[in-house]
Amino acid sequence: MSLELKGITKSFGPLVANDSIDLFVNDGEILAILGENGAGKSTLMNIVYGLLAADSGEILVDGKAVTINEPRDALSAGIGMVHQHFMLIPVFTVLENIVLGHEATSKLGALNLVQAREKLLALATDFGFTIDPDALIEDLPVGVQQRVEILKALMYDAKILILDEPTAVLTPQETDELLEVIKRLRAQGSSVIFISHKLREVKALADRITVIRRGKVVGSAAPSASQEELASLMVGRAVNLAPDRTPHTIGDVVLKVEGLTVSDPTGRALVKAVSFDLRGGEVLAIAGVQGNGQSELAQAIINLEDHVHGSILLDDKEIVGLSVHQSLHEGIAYIPESREEDGLISSFSIADNLILDTHREPPYAKGISLSPSAIETEAALKAEEFDIRAQSIKDPASSLSGGNKQKVVLARELSRPVKLLVASQPTRGLDVGSIEFVHERILAERDAGRAVLLFSTELDEVLALADRIAVMYAGQILAIVDATVSREKLGLLMAGVVE
């Protein structure tokens, strides 16, 4: 089946998320839609799937205009969608999730799953999946959950499958497997729309690439285009994908973590006896698939975690048991994983966000009395230094774009005397331009002789920044390897495989 969109426009207040977008997917084709976060990709696909209503425009399936008001309409037109955040009920089984909304019942109204089970198993066999229809979703790895989502779409005869950022949550191995599955779908005659901002995957998979920038289609490219070409099309200017790494000298040990165990309140260990050293002028990346204890390890270093055993030495000083305030003032800069939740107070002004940690100190305060003029003067200087683009530093942080929000966090954290920078997923959800900026700042800290502990699930980022890489799996550090390691080896380690 083919799908064509004509002049799709959608505004949210003054923001035009989609500006008369035209695109088409041929029968049996994989179309990649490439664009930065916030470019309008997800909005467009949500319109196609009936989750949002377009202000204007037409959707044609096999050349015939269709009206899609809700997902049910999309499904009956043969369009299926796998969302970035899975739409599965964790406490239901695979089979129950798959029949959800299409439940067959006996005459007395009892649920009849026999036919659905047969169809599911047949479909899985076709694709070479092994899947237990009676497993609970919450017990399944993320990659398998995603297959359930795909199978769910296929169960109801989707011939056009939309995959929204499907690899964001997958390990490199799982990603490779997913790409294979998508190719098999194509071989069986399905059309696929693959949404991503990851250039490597797009190049590996797509038959054709359409690039969206700020709600508009800005061009298309063949998969043979170079990553640089695709990136500059996506961003609208030339981009430096590999930050320059100047040679530098490695100093003394700044951070020494020994036998660190972090537990949740029920006593379950999330970080298990982790040990490593980190020297000044060095970037140690903690790689791994999300949810393997990285968040807890990062938080334990500034004493945000409550149940911690073991030792963390910062410049030979034990810091376990200090308050968060004390830890930060021992010389740790901390970039939390979630800017929105932990990094910023969105209703506070940019200026106030810049002094969350230092509001007690001069020149911001004399005694308990705050000095608004000093706060604003310093904020203006930092906005300049970190290129924070805002109409006014008195505007609330919520008015900033993701990249500028992260710059506020960086500016705040790097304006204390810093020995160690702990950066947790520092570029998650950022646009390419902001990623460049954050990477440059991180390397600048390294070059200035500071120790950098980088937590990242993005292999590209890890390889671009790290001097050494520690791979975390199930709460443990499986191995610490040199940054010259191959992607394949890293991928295997991230999946928990040690040769």
Binding site: L328, I345, L356, L370
Partner: protein, 390 residues
């Protein structure tokens, strides 16, 4: 200049509209609840006229009962006509302080339902120092006020401590603490220390003259220095919230506790400090009420000051100045309502309807926007308090 105008409009437009809308709707209720009006449904001309007259009389009585009554002025001069205004302010004074106790908690992301209990403890302590201790005038008042503040600060602080140490939700704890305070005052008024000599009904001795707050407008008016204390406290709370490091931390925790914690602010300390301060504010309210207008502690000394405080703080959008205005409005409605009931056929309960409607519209800005078809009405963020898991 335009910016300032915009800001003033932005922060007063919504309360103003809610106020007008509430009075309009209450007008219908007044008219339709009046038996005289209802009898005339058959003749439209008379019906409308009588309805309008009824509503007009009711609101006129409300005004005369709360701001200026020309009947009182007759023969005694213009000033005596302002007696209702004095009464309004006397009623509003404790409400300002309890309202601040709730508003400050909102700013820290806490829902303080406990102003009632905190008020009671402030009143008990101030009353005790007032009748039991003998001191020189100024010192005596100050000591009595301080006793009220301190005891209620401890009472409120317990809530903060429980929340910070065990995670007990402050709403549940303060409700329970209100019960304890309510029964505690019943019990203590039966003890020989508190029960006034020769009385069997629960009433304590009057506080000594030296512990009473001075009158501001002579003996004919009940207006006392408590209003000055309340206004100064409101200014102090504004300063604390907006111009000090302490208030900065309060607001930070209130707006996003996770981010505040990550930036090194101790959420536990803020929680305990906030609840203690809120207690102090409500306690001051209790003390001022006893030392300024009641003089003697009675079992229902707190009336509904602690509960109306929640409405007042919401109406004032948890801001000190807003809370002052909201408390004055409530004071006026309450005192005016009594006159309205006495002079017209409209019952006092209508005042509750008006209060409820104002709050309903304030709490639901979208509703106002919908009713009045206003697009892009600028409203401040709704007041946030944490859910049960917060």
């Amino acid at each position: 200049m335009k910016k300032i105008l915009d800001r003033v409009l932005g922060s007063t437009l919504l309360p103003g509209l809610s106020f007008l809308l509430a009075f309009s709707i209450s007008g219908f209720v007044i008219a339709l609840s009046d038996s005289k009006v209802l009898k005339l449904v058959g003749s439209p001309g008379k019906f409308l006229g009588t309805a309008l007259a009824t509503v007009g009389n009711a609101y006129l009585a409300l005004f005369q009962g709360s701001i200026y009554d020309p009947n009182l002025a007759r023969g005694h001069g213009f000033l005596q006509g302002l007696y209702p205004l004095s009464e309004t302010i006397v009623t509003a004074t404790p409400l300002i302080l309890t309202g601040l106790a709730v508003a400050l908690a909102f700013q820290s992301g806490l829902f303080n339902i406990g102003a009632q209990g905190q008020f009671i403890f402030g009143a008990i302590a101030a009353s005790y120092v007032g009748f039991h201790v003998t001191l020189t005038p100024v010192l005596h008042v100050l000591l009595a006020l301080f006793a009220g503040i301190a005891s209620a600060a401890v009472w409120g602080g317990i809530v903060g401590l429980l929340k910070a140490r065990t995670g007990a939700h402050e709403v549940i704890v303060t409700i329970m603490m209100n019960y304890i305070a309510g029964f505690f005052i019943l019990w203590i008024l039966k003890t020989t220390t508190f029960l006034r000599h020769g009385r069997i009904d629960p009433i304590a001795p009057e506080v000594h003259q030296s512990a009473q707050l001075p009158h501001l407008a002579g003996p004919n008016f009940r207006l006392h220095a408590g209003i000055l204390i309340a206004l100064a406290t409101a200014a102090l709370v504004w300063w604390l919230l907006n111009r000090t490091t302490i208030g900065f931390r309060f607001r930070a925790v209130g707006a996003n506790a996770a981010a505040a914690k990550t930036a090194g602010i101790s959420v536990a300390t803020v929680t305990i400090a906030t609840m203690a301060l809120c207690g102090a504010l409500a306690g001051l309210g209790g003390a001022v009420h006893v030392l300024g207008s009641e003089y003697a502690l009675t079992a229902d000394i707190a009336g509904s000051f602690g509960f109306d405080a929640i409405t007042v703080a919401l109406l004032g959008r948890a801001r000190p100045l807003g809370t002052v205005f909201a408390a004055l409005l409530f004071g006026a409605l309450r005192t005016g309502g009594r006159t309205m009931q006495a002079n017209t056929t409209t019952p006092l309960d209508i005042v509750l309807v008006i209060q409820a409607l104002i709050v309903l519209f304030i709490a639901a800005p979208t509703l106002i926007r919908f009713i009045l078809r206003i697009k892009n009405l600028k409203t401040q963020d709704a007041i946030k308090s944490k859910g049960w898991n917060g």
